[in-house]
Amino acid sequence: MSDGMGERVSDAIVPGWEVVIGLEVHAELATATKLFSTARNEFGGDPNTNVDPVSLGLPGSLPVLNEKAVELAIRVGLALDCEIGRSVFARKNYFYPDMPKDFQISQYELPINGRGHLELPDGRTVGIERAHLEEDTGKSTHVGGGGRIHEAGHSLVDYNRAGVPLIEIVGAPDLRGPEDARAYVAELRAILVAIGASDGKMEEGSMRVDCNVSVRREGAAEFGTRCEIKNINSLRSLGRAIEYEARRQVDLIEAGEAVQQQTRHWNEDEGRTHTLRSKEEAYDYRYFPEPDLVPVDPSDEWIDEIRATLPALPRERRHRLAEAAGVDTAAAALTVERGMDDLAVDAIAAGADAARVLVHVDNNLADGAGRLTADAFAALVAMEVGGDLTATQAKTVLADLVASGGDPAAHAATHGFEAMDTGELESLVDRLIADHPDDWAGFVGGDDKERKKKSGFFVGQVMKATQGQADGRIVNELLERRAAGG
């Protein structure tokens, strides 16, 4: 299974127990038309407008595979380092009103993407078992009878979503806690968005997560019996559902009972899972090769062509930034997630101090880089590190660069920012110490907490007196030196 995880015992939900998680993620592919017909693939819209004989499953209609959906599936396979090969569509037979043909065309024995893996921001890898193509269902809404499904009333079915292409990405049971699971889904989402395969919107249902959970005693070699949890609609629900389910399973085992293999439904309002069906009730889907479609066997040339159009993936970008900045990939993750890594890498390459670059990018560029260039950024950081600008001034100038571009020195001059003479600063600090003897005593003699509080007080006084032009770092150094008798 795993290519590397498993040793880590992270965020144990119940001490002494390890939770084992494998996720199945369905993502709608960003095509213009459906998987097997030329009806539009569009979210929203009036009911039953994006339909045609094929997506309604009308008698006599036949599926024809969308080339773009195959290309996007291959992009996913390449991004997840999957084995890509000959694949065959199969029919998964079950009756349900939102399934127009009463079978779903999916891939069963031969998926387009076989084994691969995904790298989390902290560098650990999670196995991917497969990533296959299938069609989405329509949607049924319950009407009347109080809105609860077990009460009377009726249902209305809209087939706009029926036949929308999905990629189902089946992850290995390599995740060990809610944080892992969330990190995995977030990373997968980032990859899908980066390669243009999906918009990854969980809230619109274009990305959906089913979660397999089991528990075992720490150090146990065998997996426990797993339950599959459905109806998870957000990253938050994912974490909550895992915690609930893991506790439920541990409670069962500790009470001397066995966990039954089941499919369970997550109820967000009640914060619990409940049984949908047991393994014994497992539906007999009667899979068989879809006779109306022929195999897909992408040539190496086609795969190479697609590979050549892939953008840098999040993991590559994290590694690139981590290397440039001399940090680990986890520290580079936020910058990459925000798409600011090119700027950071370029600024660092232009000679800027990596730590200051990351601080600015992660904290002071919340609305993006605007007209800021990497060179101007590098020059700004150089001024700051060289003491020509305080941190506060640098932030101001950075905002100017974002808004209007240009040269940091010119912006600094406009604001009248000039490096404060250290001599002036020293006399100011001495005066403040003399004026506030009690605070000074607190700084010199207090515990860490008190010392910190008083340092904040003196720096604040200095900033007030200098209208923010002093460098807080230097003020602190002066205070330390005086306290040490210097």
Binding site: L58, G60, L62, F95, P97, P100, K101, D284, R286, D292
Partner: protein
Amino acid sequence: MSASAAAIAADVRAGTRTARAVVEEHLAAIDAREDEIHAFNLVTADAALARADDLDRRIAAGEDPGPLAGVPVALKDNICTRGVPTTCSSRILDAWRPPYDATVVERLGAAGAVAIGKTNCDEFAMGSSTENSAFGPTRNPLDTSRVPGGSSGGSAAAVAAGFAPLALGSDTGGSIRQPAALCGTVGVKPTYGRVSRYGLVAFGSSLDQIGPLAASVTDAALVLEAIGGHDPRDSTSIPEPSPDLTGVLGGGVDGLRIGIIDELMGEGVEGIAADVKARVEEAAAALSAAGAAVEHVSVPSTVYGLSAYYLVAPAEASSNLARFDGVRFGLRVDADTAAAMNTATRTAGFGDEVKRRIMLGTYALSAGYYDAYYGKSQKVRTLIQEDFGRAYETYDLLLSPTAPTTAFPLGDKTGDPMLMYLNDVCTIPSNLAGHPSMSVPFGTGDDGLPIGVQVLAPALDEATMFRAAAVLEEAAP
């Protein structure tokens, strides 16, 4: 009775006869005998006349509507026609009007043909006698106490009764060729993928092919030329243009090597009547006289065809027919829940034979039985295709009976499904292999009813098959 499709089209194109006159003549023939025969579920008389008038106007304006100009054609009622009821002879689709035309319907229209009605068939094309129609059986025009064969019995009867010079049928295990044989018409099952299945209500998707029924080999060729060729709406459609058939019909069989399949002459499968065997031998002699080298050949795995077919076709059907659930179209029998409504609708809407095949197919695909039944049967298909492949290394064509007997009396086999299934024993192997084959009338049986000889060809070689068929037609007693 009436003129051939080729002659009608020639007259109509030349302006020596109007399409309206042609259609009126055929409507009159229908009026005269349809009550007795019940070939049609629906005769679209008004639409046919309007269409004929339109063609006549176009011809008067100097246009050429195409090679089937003004020729009435009867469409099996499992072929979708926009706005015109398409029932598959099932209560579950009673009065369903498709919102689109099948590709074959478009192509016949583009060739100038006039759709004259929808023909009766076994429900969802499941049967060999047209007795499994929810709307009552079709009778054989040559002896109305007998069945016309099936499942395209209405199409075969329509041609045999002179209701239409041409008809389309669908053939999953012999459903064009067997009724053609029993009604004394020509019937062709093309290579799988030769004719688009788009708009054909599916029975066994990997076996189904649409093809012509006609009074002559030439007419059948005209139809296949018109409907054949690649269709991007059917993924299994072969990317080849429609074959030239009418141009090669006179080519003869001189120098061809033709094998008579021993197994289908009773040395393997049972129940091939002596008169049927005699006619096949005579047909072989006629081909020999025309210059072909004819020998007997063994194609051993053909004897397993029936078993494999009655697992594969029902399996695919069980899935194809799931969509008849009362939700989107057709019959609904209401109930308290959606699932109960599905069940009530299907229970009321499907006839016994359809239920039998759905259950058989569901079983063949179900957990624990897939490998023993469906999986094994699909391997048998490979064996049969390979066996045919070996035979075609030596022979250009193969020959066999089309059906084991002449037309049998209504009700004779309805009590025993297995007995009914045995009708398809000679026709099934071509469907399993995906190869073309056709039935050509060749004499009559001891009861005076027609017997069909089946000509089989390798994939895509309809041209050679038609050459032999033309020779047989010429030589037929």
